[in-house]
């Protein structure tokens, strides 16, 4: 496959240095970290080393890191676990959350909770006035993502956390898209819990973490052998955890160069897009430097994404998790974007390996495809 990969917010290629660190554990994996013999103890040491690397990368203490199997699990654990002890209270999230936050919140309604979603403005920023008003109702948890996977828009989490704490609610943030792309500090964010994931930062699939305030009253999602201080049972995925740790160390070291590099690429891209009657979503506010989400006037549905794919550009038409369906992006709808335009949106998300030459090729192809699709539309009309 000689595709040019512009879909780093969906998943990233494993860094070879991370792989090198994982290989001994991938190839043998002898030893259950719970066992007391040397095989078990060396597995335990590897996990604890990784825990330190993960903590360091997000401004947390190692003791605050609870490993899970994926970001979805960490978000389910956070939402269900933090709401569990006050099930009669409402759960607040936002209209632009990933379904792995909003769906567990909905599932908690079976226990008597109510799930409500706070809206965003046209730029994709959370409506803090609406949040303040909703917090007059007893609330167990406020969960708002730090950076949106589709638009890249960064929320004012410190304010969200402050409002939640004042109202006696817990604050959680899904920071999966933020790790490695902005300076991330759990302590400064002032939230009670934060989700991060490995495969978005050139780490392997199969590892993620919920970073939690140790005093947090949270119920486990998985019950069993009592691993992760009883908060996440199940034999640890050592190789993935080791890789996650190594990826975190690299991401933390390289955050600044990542920002500089991808920002230059995006500026190049968006300068080109400006010539093509394109709407770029969230471009008036703080966004992740690697993300550009746009739609072309008059081109509908996934036709453009499909056309780009035929030209070997891997881009997304929405979040990977929802691209099974042809529903327009819920994020764009929440921002007030017209459904037809939302269906045709294209997300470009850069990684450190992308080049200026690739962006130039992409722009040339895009211009050509837009012209071709518009001619087809005109012929059909």
């Amino acid at each position: 496959m000689n595709s040019i990969y512009f879909d780093h917010n969906a998943t990233t290629v494993l860094d070879s240095r991370v792989l090198a660190r994982m290989l001994p554990w991938l190839e043998r994996q002898t030893g259950n970290p719970t066992s007391r013999h040397i095989y078990g103890r060396s597995a335990r040491d590897a996990i604890e080393y990784a825990r330190g690397q993960v903590a360091e990368a997000c401004g947390a203490y190692a003791s605050q890191v609870i490993f899970t199997s994926c970001g979805t699990e960490a978000n389910n654990f956070a939402v269900k676990g933090m709401a569990a002890n006050r099930p009669e209270m409402q759960i607040l999230s936002s209209k632009i959350e990933h379904p792995c936050v909003t769906r567990p919140a909905l599932a908690m309604q079976a226990l008597g909770s109510v799930s409500r979603q706070i809206g965003v403005n046209a730029n994709g920023q959370l409506d803090l006035a609406q949040l303040t008003e909703q917090l007059n109702i007893p609330t167990s948890l406020v969960s708002v993502m730090l950076a949106n996977n589709e638009t890249g828009v960064i929320q004012d989490l410190a304010s969200v956390a402050e409002l939640a704490r004042t109202a006696g609610a817990f604050a959680h943030t899904d920071a999966v898209q933020a790790l490695g792309k902005i300076k991330l500090n759990f302590t400064d964010l002032n939230v009670h819990a934060m989700t991060i994931s490995s495969h978005k930062i050139h780490g392997p699939q199969g590892a993620a973490a919920l970073i939690i305030d140790k005093r947090l009253d949270i119920q486990p999602l998985l019950h069993g052998g009592g691993q992760e201080r009883g908060l996440r049972s199940g034999t640890e995925n050592i190789a993935a955890i080791v890789g996650f740790g190594a990826a975190c160390e690299l991401a933390a070291t390289n955050t600044q160069s990542f920002i500089t590099h991808t920002l230059a690429l995006r500026e190049q891209l968006e300068r080109g897009l400006a010539q093509m009657k394109v709407t770029i979503f969230g471009d008036q506010v703080a966004r992740l430097s690697n993300t550009s989400f746009f739609a072309v006037d008059g081109i509908e549905g996934e036709t453009l994404v499909m056309a780009l794919d035929r030209k070997n550009f891997a881009v997304a038409s929405g979040s990977a998790c929802s691209s099974d369906s042809t529903e327009p992006s819920h994020v764009l709808l929440a921002m007030g974007v017209d459904a037809d335009m939302a269906r045709g949106a294209v997300r470009v998300s850069f990684g450190a390996q992308n080049t200026s030459k690739e962006v130039a090729e992409f722009l040339a192809t895009l211009q050509h495809e837009i012209l071709r699709l518009k001619q087809l539309t005109a012929m059909a009309a």
Binding site: T11, L19, W25, L26, R28, T72, G234, I238, S317
Partner: protein, 423 residues
């Protein structure tokens, strides 16, 4: 971009061929986890290096390659256990499978009743979710097994109530290796309209499993007990008659809504390959392992005051759990550093509680503490077994030489009748 990762020392205890370095203890803890088969590792690595991609990404070929690999692996897993691939749901491991099966079925069918039957010797990953359901208003019966570890079907039948909705019985016990009569238990469940879940984490590649015939509704699997990677498992969910479960992890709607979350493609591929190898090689392998187990058993049971825990007939050959009487448990573990074994289930050995499984068989605390689980597998050799026998015999002799209890026993004193002075 360059960053250096300071590597912690990986205590690489195995050679490339899967055999222990000489200085390392011999690995006899296959029931805790198995080394990854080199063929499995070889199959996995391309999926973590070249064919990366999110299987749910539908708009580009990276996602398609991943999806195809995932579906091939699903077929391999299904084939080993006689299931339809559509009945296999990926999870992060057996703990998640057990949680999903038990909480998922109990919650979905709670309208039919809120009573659950299980066995006291189940893995914590079954017991703890049931305890959690008890806190939510369910009632549970924890049946005591017979002294040989097997479930008495009459007692099982007697435990059934009109509101019994779910039963969970493990196929092969992790500590003592006994095989329950899943067919008979399943038939009783069918007759009584009870959903039947089986934890088969310790069974794959060791016993034949044919879900076309077995009256089982939900079955949990994991890869890392069958020479596959850690962090991947599966839950079998019967389609005919259709069994419904409530999802425990919600999100993108992966796995037909039963389990959301990005799938680790290389791990799934590893599980598929591990289960393919198990299907093709288990019968030959079991013969070899039975021979090794018999040799180990013979070498150890010829000592005095040695008790095998669990039935020897209805048992996988990979497991031998033995109590060495008149030997203190901790000093026993310290004395046998040349072999890596477990003194209880791996998941409970962080604590010094006597094994609850051995206690349920009626073993005293002392015998439970002085027990060792030897679990052997694909890479265990004759030499490993010879060494283990020799090591155990000499160390047990030495420990008993130091034991006043052993001396009293040899002097013919009935220790159960001794009135100990209180301190």
């Amino acid at each position: 971009m360059s960053a250096t990762i300071e590597m912690p020392v990986v205590k690489d205890t195995f050679n490339a061929d899967g055999h222990a370095h000489e200085a390392q203890p011999i690995y006899l803890d296959y029931s805790a986890t198995t080394p990854v088969d080199p063929r499995v590792a070889a199959k996995m690595i391309p999926y973590i290096t070249e064919h990366f991609g999110n299987p749910a990404s539908r708009s580009h070929p990276y996602g398609w390659t991943a999806e195809k690999a995932v579906e091939n692996a699903r077929e391999e897993v299904a084939k080993l256990v006689g299931a339809d691939p559509r009945e296999i749901v990926w999870t992060s491991g057996a703990t998640e499978s057990n949680n999903l099966a038990i909480k998922g079925a109990a919650n979905f069918y709670s309208g039919k009743g809120k009573h659950i039957i299980t066995v006291a010797t189940e893995h914590k990953a079954v017991i703890d979710p049931i305890r959690e359901l008890e806190r939510q208003g369910f009632e549970a019966t924890f049946l005591q097994p017979e002294p040989n570890g097997l479930l008495d079907l009459v007692k099982f039948k007697a435990a059934i109530r009109p509101d019994t909705v779910l039963a969970s019985v493990m196929f092969v016990n992790n500590e003592i290796g006994v095989i329950q009569d899943i067919t008979a238990i399943g038939n009783i469940c069918r007759e009584n309209g009870i959903i039947f879940h089986v934890d088969a984490a310790q069974a794959t590649g060791k016993v034949d499993i044919d879900l076309e015939i077995l009256p089982v509704d939900l079955m949990s699997f994991c890869a890392h007990k069958t020479y596959g990677p850690k962090g991947i498992g599966a839950l079998y969910v019967r389609r005919k008659p259709r069994i419904r479960i409530e999802a425990q992890m919600h999100g993108g709607g992966h796995e037909r809504g039963m389990r959301s979350g990005t799938l680790a493609t290389h791990q799934i591929v590893g599980m598929g390959e591990a289960f393919r190898i198990a299907r093709e090689e288990m019968h030959e392998e079991n013969k070899r392992i039975t021979h090794l187990r018999d040799k180990l058993l013979h070498g150890l049971e010829t000592m005095e005051e040695v008790y095998v825990n669990g039935d020897l007939e209805h048992r996988v050959p990979h497991n031998l759990n033995i109590s060495f009487n008149y030997v203190e448990g901790e000093s026993l573990i310290m004395a046998v550093k040349g072999i890596a074994v477990s003194s209880g289930s791996a998941c409970t050995s962080a604590s010094l509680e006597p094994s609850y499984v051995l206690r349920a068989l009626g073993r005293s605390d002392e015998l439970a503490h002085s027990s060792i689980r030897f679990s052997i597998g694909r890479f265990t050799t004759e030499e490993d077994v010879d060494y283990t026998i020799e090591l155990m015999r000499s160390k047990i002799d030495k420990l008993r030489d130091l034991s006043p209890l052993w001396e009293m026993f040899k002097d013919g004193i009935d220790l159960s009748k001794v009135q100990w002075a209180s301190h």
